[in-house]
């Protein structure tokens, strides 16, 4: 079995702050991480590898620094890593990204493609589904569980709003995976020691068979008109108590937070 996992390097949005005047993300000093849903996807691929035997290739499109998440993936247990990097890819929206990735995937052999559901910096959840359309293969999005149940056959549990769907998929397909369902393993120490001895293949726009008009800014119909923070509000806690108990509760909470 051959699996390709598409991963993305994203700013850790849990520590990102928003410029209060410009309304844009302040990316300076924010650590870059492997997108959590993608890491969940890699975990699923590595479980397939352990259970059934598989060659797991990770691919990312991004600047040269994105090498870091490929090394992390190798240290977790991926076999091969490809960095798709070229100035011609810059400014890509989801369509141009999925076009470039489809070109790369056409150069590779695979039975399954696994993507994260969405990236925490854009939250579009579009690249995986678009990719399967470019490649003309079946897709299952919002995957909460998957197992191999026969030759070229998967049983996939898909999360929907108020429950789950259980699907059987035959043949090549693309899955988009939820981080919450696949707690990723830690990197292994021996894997870390080897990660920088392994080769990360560098592919450019010339390595893939996609016309330039479909790549980067040129291939991107989306324009961002405006970014703005939606305002942060904590979820709060609900207590059903009498007014007297409420006073005690409020006072104790304020004390807990050293406000009084």
């Amino acid at each position: 079995m051959k699996i390709v996992v598409c991963i993305k390097q994203v700013p850790d949005t849990t520590v990102v702050k928003i410029d209060p005047i410009k309304g844009t993300l302040i990316r300076q000093g924010v650590p870059s991480i492997m997108n959590p849903d993608d890491k969940g996807g890699l975990e699923l691929a590595l479980r397939f590898k352990e259970e059934k035997g598989a060659e797991v290739t990770v691919i990312t499109m991004g600047p040269p620094q994105a090498d870091l998440i490929l090394r992390e993936a190798l240290a977790m247990g991926a076999d091969k890593a490809i960095l798709l990097t070229d100035r011609k890819f810059a400014g890509a929206d989801t369509l141009a990204t999925s076009s470039a990735l489809s070109g790369a995937l056409n150069n590779l052999e695979w039975d399954y493609i696994i993507c994260g559901r969405q990236a925490i910096d854009g939250d579009t959840a579009q690249v995986g589904p678009q990719l399967s359309e470019h490649l003309g293969i079946a897709q299952v999005s919002y995957v909460a569980d998957a197992k191999v149940i026969g030759e070229n056959k998967l049983e996939v549990k898909r999360e929907i709003e108020d429950g789950y769907q259980l699907l059987e998929v035959k043949g090549k397909c693309l899955l988009t995976v939820l981080a919450s369902s696949f707690k990723p393993r830690y990197m292994n120490v021996a894997g870390i020691v080897d990660a920088y001895d392994k080769e990360v293949e560098i592919w450019t726009a010339d390595s893939i068979d996609i016309e330039e008009s479909r790549l980067g800014l040129k291939g991107s119909p989306t324009r961002v008109k405006k970014s703005f923070p939606k305002g942060v509000k904590s979820s709060g806690e609900v207590y059903e108590v009498t007014p007297e108990e409420a006073v005690d509760l409020v006072v104790s909470k304020l004390k807990e937070k050293f406000i009084i």
């Binding site: 870091l68 090394r71 992390e72 240290a75 830690y186 990197m187 292994n188 120490v189 021996a190 894997g191 870390i192 020691v193 080897d194 990660a195 920088y196 937070k257 050293f258 406000i259």
Partner: protein
């Protein structure tokens, strides 16, 4: 000259930080409170290769370096000094002497099991009457046919009862003084070997510290480590390495307390403003943070020297002396900034202060470290 970690070391730090935060931190208060060995954490560390970080791959280790190892002990000890010393004693005091002084047979027999974490290791030198004066060993080993017969007691042994392999010093020829000491590999199920009473301690309370009792304990003749009479030298070399591990543990405790106190003083308001805005807070913490960074540089330098096979006794002594005294100072001040809250077990700084003290005592007291440093100065 390059102060940066290598890319592999950076990646390792990323991993160990996640591991410490998710797996070590949640258990720290519990194992202290229950005085319980963190067996489940040891199993998790084993699975990831953390029980054999600087052990070469040919012996079943991860093939990492001593910088990575000290980063691991530091990051783990930020949250739990108990788990830090379990790893340190296992790696520096048991794996290292077998790797450095063992025969090929001994290495092949013991290192893969220790490196994979299937077995835990320990080291026994201290006796009731031989602490800082390690040459006053009273435990004896006598060759009887194909076996060594050990008699005597070792005390305050880390990982006691939890370990499967013990590296033990014993007198083989009393007339020769320190040159009459030899080192042995003793398996935990050897006949005549017994683990005594567990100590109730001020800090690192989850660490298993006990007496080892040898009553006509018989081990195979081949289980002598190094040559007959080389035990004192092996013990001193082993402790040089161990001190780097304990220095990293002390550094971790200090950093952990600093992280807590910075977060708390920003949050805590008195006289209408955060106590972090007061100059006393800022100046005291600035001095302590400087000492923490100096400790880190000393630890890294000692680990670097060990990796480069440069003699590092003085570096190890300086790192341990400075980091241990820093840990005690930082944790003490941390409680002061927390005030009454810091004195309670609701906050981790209370435990950190109790844990810090041992780093000035074990694997050579601060006074011993000064003796080592002065010995080098006036040689």
């Amino acid at each position: 000259m390059d102060f940066n970690l290598t890319k592999s070391q950076e990646l390792f730090r990323q991993m160990i930080r996640e591991f410490a935060e998710n797996e070590v931190k949640p258990l720290a208060a519990e194992i202290d409170e229950q005085e319980r060995f963190p067996r489940e954490t040891v199993e998790k560390m084993a699975k990831l290769g953390l029980m054999g970080i600087p052990l070469p791959k040919e012996y079943g280790g991860a093939g990492g370096d001593n910088i990575m190892y000290t980063i691991a002990v530091e990051e783990i000890s930020k949250f739990c000094a108990t788990t830090g010393v379990v790893l340190s004693a296992h790696t520096s005091l048991c794996i290292a002497p077998i790797l450095e002084h063992g025969t090929e047979e001994q290495k092949n027999k013991y290192l893969p099991k220790l490196g994979s974490g299937e077995w835990v290791g320990a080291f026994g030198l201290t006796e009731p009457n031989a602490g800082t004066d390690a040459s006053a060993q009273q435990t004896t080993a006598v060759l009887d046919g194909e076996e060594w017969v050990l008699n005597g007691n070792k005390i305050f042994i880390t990982n006691s009862g939890e370990a499967n392999v013990y590296v033990i010093s014993a007198m083989t020829d009393k007339s020769k003084g320190v040159k009459g000491i030899s080192t042995f590999i003793v398996e935990g199920d050897s006949p005549g070997f017994q683990v005594g009473k567990h100590e109730l301690k001020l800090g690192i309370r989850g660490s298993a510290t006990a007496e080892l009792i040898f009553t006509n304990c018989r081990i195979p003749k081949d289980n002598i480590l190094g040559k007959v009479g080389s035990g004192f030298k092996i013990a001193m070399q082993t402790l040089d390495g161990g001190r780097v591990g304990i220095a990293a543990q002390a550094l971790g405790i200090a950093q952990g307390a600093m992280d807590e106190v910075v977060a708390y003083t920003k949050e805590r308001k008195q006289f209408g403003r955060s106590i972090s805005k007061f100059q006393n807070t800022q100046f005291v913490l600035a001095d302590l943070d400087t000492r923490i960074e100096a400790s880190r540089l000393l630890v890294r330098k000692a680990a670097f020297c060990k990796d480069q096979h440069i003699r590092f006794s003085t570096e190890a002594a300086m790192a341990k002396l400075f980091a241990a005294e820093t840990a005690v100072a930082v944790t003490n001040k941390a409680i002061q900034f927390f005030g009454g809250y810091g004195y309670t077990r609701e906050y981790p700084v209370e435990r950190m202060m109790r844990d810090a003290k041992i780093t000035e005592i074990y694997e050579g007291t601060s006074e011993v470290q000064r003796m080592v440093i002065a010995g080098n100065l006036f040689k």
